[in-house]
Amino acid sequence: MSQLTEEQTAPPKRVHRQRSATQWAVAWRRFKRNKSGVAGLAIVIAFVVFAIFGPLFAPYPPRSTESLLQGQAGQPPSWKHPFGTEINGIDVFSDSIWGARNDLWIGVAATAIATLIGLAVGALAGYSRGVIGGILLGIIQFFFVIPTLLLILLFSRVFQVLVYQGFGVNLIVLILGLFGWPGISFVIRGEIFRVRELEFIQAEKALGAGNLRILFRHIVPNVLTPVIVLASLLVAGNILTEVVLFFLGFGPANVATWGELIEEGVQYVSVYPWVALFPGLLVVTLVLGFNLLGDGLADALNPRLRE
């Protein structure tokens, strides 16, 4: 309870946002008013449910070429194969369901890794002045300069040839995670700089509050806002990267993802256009969902952008 009183007695600073329970409630109310944000959330939830339970109802196992034997390869959409089949007889509907699970996993798990690294590096870079801060900033800038997407392709390829092929989608998760953090850490670093200059933090410091206390009571709550927004947008970005990676033929073999289906569809787009069409629409919808969600969260959590 004593902490609560301290929070109440903190001088009200316009730029500093104390995230108390009521403020989360305010943010949620504001989010609910934002139709496109709510639509984004609904899309994301629908896909999560779809990814968890959909495979229970998938007509075929992932990558199953069963239909080929029944002479059903390259069939246009029908009741039996709602999204049609591709040249090897893989049921596009079935693989799209399995793909939802893999794509969401790639998007979310890679974002989780990137966010953790981003938080750690960003906090360290924001907190340490001098040599360490300089080196960390240099590393972040280095990642802004190198062609990240191309290197993701290269690492995926070289790793599979040189080291090990059996990681499946988790290899992609790892690589995307390892390349995805610099944006987050850059923002966190800036936010820490901003918050720690605020007068009352200086005052708390003068009163002898420890760095850890300041970190957890003031900086973490403030940094959380941009992190949540960035993470949501990063999931969208990671899914798009996954799709390109598989389309270009750098994905691990024999996993059902939307990108893999699109790759197969593109090769025969003139004869079997549906193979690339349906998984592509799913990609657009899910990515749209995360982008709308991210924008909605940004609006709801950032009072500075609104009146």
Partner: protein, 310 residues
Amino acid sequence: MIPVFIGVTLFTFLIGNAAGNPINLIRLAFKGTLPQNVYLQLVAYYHIGENPLIRYLYYLWDLIHFDLGLSITSQRPVASEIGPWVWTTLYLQLSALALALLIGIPIAIYSARHQHSKSDTTITGIAIFGYSTPTFWLGIIFIYIFSFYLRVLPSSGAVSAITPWWGNWTLDRIAHLILPMTVLTYVQLATIIRLLRGNLLEVLKQDYILAAMASGLKERAVIYGHALRNAITPIITIIGLSLGASLAGAPGLETAFSWPGLGYEFTQAALALDIPTVLGITVIISVMVLVANLATDLVYGFLDPRVRVS
């Protein structure tokens, strides 16, 4: 700038030596059977046997002399191959960017001035689709419609091999450019509208806009002279930075259209494990991005007096 340059070159050097030395990686492309004469050439070129620091310095020395080694697939110097690829990529990216700015600026202004109106909602909706769509996938759909179905535009490459489209080599280039440029323009348009609209909404609330109106200026003069200039200046930075990224950022789109630019060629080289080409492209792109960043800083300083170096 220089530390980052050293970082980048050190990074590509380390990738090249990930398997001990570059020859071990190159060997992969030959599936294990490296001819003896090629092997000896490579040993000499990469100074195998020297310690890693010396080899790195040799690498830097070669780089400064624009020597990026021999491409494994084409057996030609990587440096002379990259030149046309850079040009092909820039030609696509810059024409799309110019078009996107031309269309995007008036749309963003309209959207910001009619915030929450139906047309604003439609515009932002179309924009958010733009950055939620994989470019190459949109490209494939365009190819299917315009090349396979309607047969009005070419589906691949930057130029025809034998007979030109529309009977003329200039028109032929334009015909090849239309589809990929349209896709890319749409995506860039989405980004420009989103950023510019957001900035304009902020700027339009500023007192200097009201003050300019209060001095009796025409609304057009206020919007274009004050609001737009203030809103677009920070976007120049983002465009400058993303210009670097867009050098490499479209491997999907370039591959969909077999557009012989850096992204497409990198993809081909990486699939063939043509390590000298892959690392050559990486270094070249990084250096170009560094230069673009520097140029952006200078332009920004010119546009915004507040950041001018005193």
